[in-house]
Amino acid sequence: MNPTSTQTTENFEFLFYPKVVSGQCALENLPTELAGNDAQKPLVITSQAVARNGLTKILVKAFYDSAVVIGAIYDPVLDYAGISQAQQAARLFSERGCDAIIALGGGPVVALAKAVNVLVSERQATLQPYYNGTPIAGPLKPLIVVPSGASDGQEAMPAMTVDNRAIASESLYPGVFVLDGRVTIGDSPSCVAESGAIALAQAFTALTMEAPNPMIDALAHPSLDLLARYLLPAVRRPKDKAAGLAVANAAVLASAACANSGTGSVFVLGEALAAATGVSLGKCLGILLPFAIGALRQSSRPVRDALCLAVAGLEGFAAIPAQERPNKGLEMAAALARELKVALPASLQALRVQHHLLDPVAQAAAQKSAGRFTAAECRAILGRAWEANA
């Protein structure tokens, strides 16, 4: 870590809003968490995949011997959060007289839950006003997230992406995250690897941002540390409860850290690529990350020791000579990202991304980055990722 003088010269701001409950029979805390928010009847929103894996049954079991009645389990969500399903769920919510929302799953499920929450709390028929920039008044109904193995990195952020459009608002923070090994197991190696890649990208972004912020570091540190320990085992054995739980924890923390640090270059690039090709964000990031890190190593931008500390751990960090730490940190991070190759395609070419798309993607990313980096830089990274030579 840097000498404090540089760490505290500038002002910083920090917020880690959601409460995290993680571990053995964490699910059984749900009734108490609901009661703590004065709620008795939650609407559960989840995806077909989750339901198919029988996780909804586990959730229901967790409510046994409690005063809670589950308003409904709305489970037709696929891989997309859209207004039409949000409207249906909102209708269920009001018909059953629910007073809280539980999102069982990750990515689109959480986004949808947030959308439903806005619809029912703000009494709106559509999200149109918010697309047009109307702020969400809030406070919204209590929202509890029970993440599954798959995450898109937006769960713990004060934002939602519904119908491919992002809406940001303080009131979109979920109140509680309940992580339980029975639920956080992954479907397949690739699905774990994808959420791992996203978490990795976010934690990396947080730990390498220019303006140092001890609290964001403190938040991103355990995330990256957990990933370094558990990601590979989780990818190898997706049904391993302990590893799965650890990765899910890392994902939540990374996402929360990213909410403070802002999305970094690699993330913007990945999103642009995913949008253009229809390949999932996780795959894109998994491929891009090593090359993005490589690009950072070549650039002269200073990198803080926090990164090295997080990925190397106390012992490892102490063993590395002081001046080598920043570089070593990047190296190890890149190595960690490269390990995902066991479950993800090695290059964009292997993914059969059409070559003529790379230029427009690079431009789109550069445009979205608001001048933080140029199209040329993006194109260079994409080019290397396409042929997969670092």
Partner: protein, 204 residues
């Protein structure tokens, strides 16, 4: 969309676990007053509690099941076991003379100076199957304390000792932080007390 595809779900009951916990609570409840008589350590702790003091150990949610007016029809020996009507409860009362009594599981018309509530059935199971010692349970927020915290710590100390008496060493080790050594409790005394407690707890 026809909403019948997404029915309302009323969660059920885990009967076996309820039954197990009911027995445990009942046993502990009966054992503590006896222990308070035979073991000076326990006595010392109990004395720290103010007189005319009612405390309870329970499992949330506290609710009548089946509702009260049915419960009234149930024979007392069912009700007192805390099996059915009032959720799972163990009520102890320290009277004016400072004697401790077990008062079954019926909270009606009682006012509690201290009540410790397990957040959920599973949380109670964690502790009462000794997967978590009571301090760990406390650290993991398995139960919430209502009332004056120092009294709670006293009560938990009492629980520890009583567990040492009730359980074979192998299990008791898991239940307490540090198993009492020679200095604190001589094996002979321990075994004698243990027998007394068992006999008196289950006879009258």
């Amino acid at each position: 969309m026809n909403t019948s595809r997404y029915p309302e779900i009323k969660p059920g009951q885990k009967w076996i676990k309820r039954f197990y916990l009911a027995i445990m609570l009942w046993t502990v409840g009966k054992a503590i007053p006896v222990a308070a008589k035979v073991d000076k350590e326990v006595k010392k702790e109990i004395d720290k509690l103010p007189n005319n003091f009612t405390l309870r150990l329970m499992v949330l949610p506290e609710r009548a099941f089946p509702p009260f007016f049915y419960a009234k029809m149930l024979p007392a020996f069912v009700a007192d076991k805390g099996l059915l009507p009032y959720g799972l409860q163990m009520i102890l009362h320290k009277d004016k003379e400072g004697k401790l009594h077990y008062q079954g599981a019926d909270p009606r018309g009682k006012k509690f100076d201290l009540s410790m509530a397990f957040k959920s059935l599973e949380a109670a199971m964690m502790v009462f199957t000794f997967r978590e010692s009571s301090p760990t349970g406390y650290a993991h927020d398995r139960f919430v304390v209502e009332g004056y915290l120092p009294n709670a710590t006293i009560f938990m100390r009492v629980l520890d000792i009583v567990q040492v008496y009730l359980l074979p060493k192998l299990i008791a080790r898991l239940a307490v932080k540090r198993y009492p050594s020679w200095s604190e409790m001589s094996p002979l005394k321990k075994h004698i007390n243990r027998i007394i407690i068992y006999v008196r707890a289950f006879t009258f």
